[in-house]
C-alpha cells in the first residue's frame, strides 16, 4: 500500500495549469523529498492533497482510500506555507484548539508530547506572534503531529532557518519517521539538507512529475568522480582526456568521472610530470543530479 497515490491530477488557475496530469507515488514510511523550481507546482500539489484546493481532474488516494475520506484525513498533518496559528493566542492555546478539533482524549498530555518532540516544552505560554521563525516552523510541525498522524505534508519547513534551526528540524523529522513511523512528504529548495534525510525523491517541472526515484536507486546510479588540483590544470586536463573519457574543469578542480581507482590517476599524472596538490573522491549529489536533469529537460 502507498501512503499517497496520485494519478492524472490537474489544477489550473485562470486557464494556466499549475499541476498538469501529475502522477505521484509515495510509499508508506518514506521521507519523500519533493523538488522543483519556484512555481513548478509543488505547493499546489500539496494543497490539493490536503484538500485546500479543488482539483480539475485526477485521483488522489491516501493509504488506498479517497483523499476526502474523514477517516484518512484525521490522520493527516500538514504545514503549508505557515503554521496556521492565531498570532495573539499562546502556543498552548493554538495547540489546544487543534487538539479539540481532532477530538483527542488526553489533550494536555498530547500537547506536552508534541512540544517535547519539537523541543519547545518551556515555550508553551509564549504568544505565537512573539516566536522566532524557527520556533513558528516547529510549532507548525507540533500542530501537524497532534493526534498521531500517519502522513505529514510539509511545505518548505526549513526555508529561512539558520544552520542550527535546520539541524534541529532535520533531527525532528528523522525522529518522527523513526520513532512514530510517519510517512513524510517534504518540499524544499535546500537540496543538501533534503539529501540528508530523504528516502525517496520526486522532481516536478511545469506541473509535471519528471522523475521519481528512491535515494538508494539514486545512490547506485550516481556517477563517481575524482576532483584534483595540479599546477598545470590545462596540461593535466589534456593528458587525462587521453586516458579517461569524461574530464571537466569545475570550481577550480579537474573532475575525472567514472573512476574506481583514484591511485591510478595520480600515478599516471606523476609519471607524466604533474604534481597533484589535492585529490578527493566524490559522488554526484542530489543537487547536481537535479540540475543535470533540469538542463536535459530544458534542452529537450
Amino acid at each position: 500500500m502507498n501512503a499517497i497515490e496520485i494519478r492524472g491530477l490537474s489544477k489550473s488557475f485562470h486557464g494556466m495549469y499549475a499541476v498538469d496530469n501529475l502522477n505521484m507515488t509515495v510509499p508508506v514510511g518514506a521521507i519523500y523529498g519533493f523538488i522543483g523550481e519556484n512555481g513548478s507546482g509543488k505547493s499546489t500539489t500539496e494543497k490539493l492533497i490536503c484538500g485546500h484546493l479543488v482539483p480539475d481532474k485526477g485521483k488522489i488516494k491516501l493509504f488506498g482510500k479517497d483523499y476526502r475520506d474523514a477517516g484518512v484525513r484525521v490522520r493527516v498533518g500538514a504545514l503549508i506555507e505557515n503554521a496556521g496559528c492565531f498570532p495573539n493566542s499562546s502556543v498552548w492555546d493554538n495547540l489546544m484548539m487543534q487538539a479539540i478539533n481532532l477530538g483527542l482524549e488526553n489533550r494536555d498530555e498530547e500537547i506536552r508530547r508534541v512540544l517535547q518532540i519539537v523541543r519547545m516544552e518551556s515555550d508553551a505560554n509564549i504568544k505565537f506572534k512573539s516566536c522566532s521563525l524557527g520556533m513558528k516552523q516547529r510549532i507548525g510541525i507540533a500542530m501537524a503531529l497532534l493526534g498521531d498522524p500517519a502522513l505529514l505534508i510539509l511545505d518548505e519547513p526549513i526555508n529561512g532557518l539558520d544552520a542550527d534551526g535546520m539541524r534541529i528540524m532535520r533531527e525532528i523529522l528523522v525522529d518522527i519517521t523513526q520513532k512514530y513511523g510517519c510517512t513524510v512528504l517534504i518540499s524544499s529548495h535546500i537540496l543538501g539538507e533534503l539529501e540528508k534525510i530523504a528516502t525517496h525523491y520526486g522532481i516536478i517541472r511545469q506541473g509535471k512529475m519528471i522523475c521519481e526515484i528512491s535515494a538508494a536507486e539514486m545512490d547506485s546510479r550516481a556517477q563517481v568522480f575524482v576532483s584534483l588540483k595540479t599546477k598545470d590544470m590545462q596540461g593535466a586536463k589534456a593528458l587525462l582526456q587521453q586516458k579517461a573519457a569524461d574530464v571537466r574543469e569545475e570550481d577550480g578542480y579537474l573532475r575525472v568521472y567514472d573512476v574506481n581507482q583514484p591511485e591510478a590517476i595520480v600515478d599516471y599524472l606523476i609519471k607524466n610530470g604533474h604534481v597533484v596538490s589535492e585529490i578527493k573522491k566524490n559522488k554526484i549529489g542530489l543537487e547536481e543530479y537535479y540540475i543535470e536533469l533540469m538542463q536535459k529537460k530544458e534542452e529537450a
Binding site: A78, A150, Q178
Partner: protein
C-alpha cells in the same frame, strides 16, 4: 530503525466532527478578548440611544427624547415593516449590526491566520464549518442581547425613563430576538464565506446587511402589508418582535430563524465545497 505501526482509519461520525469544531470555536470565543469587547459594546449601545437624546445642546435648547419608555430601547411598540420610521429601528436590532462585524472578525481571523488550513487538512468538512460558525456566532449574539438588555435597564434608570410594559410581551420579544440570532449569524457566516478573500468587503457586507436595508428594500418593493409571508420571512424578528408580541411572534421567529439558518448554511456549504479554501 523505522518503527512499524498499525494503520487504522476510523471515520469520525458527524456528531463527533461537529463536537470538535464547536469545541474549537467556543474555546476561541472565550479565550480571545474580541467576544468580551463586543459584549461591552452591546451594553453601551442603549446608553447612546437613551442617554444622548434629551441632552442639552450648546445653544441651550434640549433635543427631543427618542423614547420616553426605556423598553423601547429593546423593541418598538408595534411591528415595523416599512422604512418610514428609521428612528424606531434603534433598538435591540442594533446588536445584529455589531454582531455582523464580530462574525466578520471571527471568520476573517480563521483565514488571515491560516488556521482554516489546519481545520480542512483534517477531518473537518465544509458543512461542519458553516454549522459550527453559525451556532457559535449565534450564541455570541444572544449573549450580546443579554448585555444589551442590562445596558438598557441601567441607562433607563439613569435617564429616569418610564418602565411600564407588558412583561410577557417583553420577554417574548427579547427571546424572539435571541432566537433570531441564529438566522442572522447564518447570514453573516454565509457572507463571510463568500467574501473570505477580502476582509474589508466581508465587514462592509455584514454591516450593510446588518442594517437591514437590503431586506427592507425588498419588502418595500413587494409591498409592506404586515401580514405578508414574504415580509415576515424577510424581517424575521428584527422588526416583528415588539412590545406587543405574543406566542405567534415567537413561533414566527423560530420558523424564520430556522429557515434562514438552513438556507444560508446549505448555500454556503455548496459554495465552499466547490471552491478553494483560500
Amino acid at each position: 530503525m523505522t518503527a512499524s505501526r498499525e494503520l487504522k482509519f476510523e471515520s469520525p461520525s458527524f456528531f463527533k466532527r461537529i463536537k470538535g469544531m464547536l469545541g474549537v470555536d467556543f474555546y476561541r470565543l472565550f479565550h480571545t478578548p474580541m467576544f468580551y469587547i463586543f459584549l461591552c459594546i452591546a451594553a453601551f449601545i442603549p446608553a447612546l440611544i437613551l442617554g444622548t437624546t434629551g441632552m442639552e445642546n450648546p445653544d441651550g435648547t434640549v433635543s427631543a427624547q427618542l423614547y420616553t419608555n426605556a423598553w423601547n430601547a429593546i423593541a418598538a411598540d408595534t411591528p415595523l415593516y416599512t422604512f418610514n420610521s428609521i428612528g424606531e429601528y434603534a433598538n435591540m436590532n442594533m446588536v445584529f449590526i455589531f454582531g455582523g462585524i464580530m462574525v466578520s472578525i471571527f471568520i476573517g481571523h480563521d483565514y488571515k491566520s491560516g488556521y482554516v488550513k489546519q481545520l480542512f487538512t483534517t477531518h473537518a468538512k465544509k458543512q461542519d464549518y458553516m454549522i459550527s460558525k453559525s451556532i457559535t456566532c449565534a450564541f455570541a449574539m444572544a449573549c450580546m442581547c443579554i448585555t444589551y438588555l442590562l445596558g438598557s435597564v441601567v441607562s433607563g434608570l439613569l435617564v429616569g425613563l418610564d418602565f411600564t410594559v407588558n412583561a410577557g410581551s417583553l420577554f417574548i420579544a427579547i427571546l424572539s430576538k435571541m432566537i433570531m440570532s441564529l438566522g442572522w449569524a447564518s447570514l453573516y457566516t454565509f457572507l463571510n464565506v463568500i467574501f473570505r478573500k477580502y476582509f474589508g468587503v466581508s465587514i462592509a457586507s455584514s454591516f450593510f446587511f446588518g442594517t437591514g436595508l437590503p431586506i427592507i428594500a425588498i419588502g418595500m418593493i413587494f409591498g409592506d402589508t404586515s401580514g405578508s409571508a414574504l415580509n415576515i420571512f424577510l424581517y424575521g424578528s428584527s422588526v416583528n418582535a415588539c412590545l406587543s408580541s405574543n406566542m405567534m411572534t415567537l413561533i414566527i421567529c423560530i420558523v424564520c430563524s430556522a429557515a434562514w439558518a438552513i438556507i444560508y448554511n446549505l448555500v454556503g456549504t455548496a459554495i465552499l465545497s466547490k471552491s478553494d479554501v483560500y
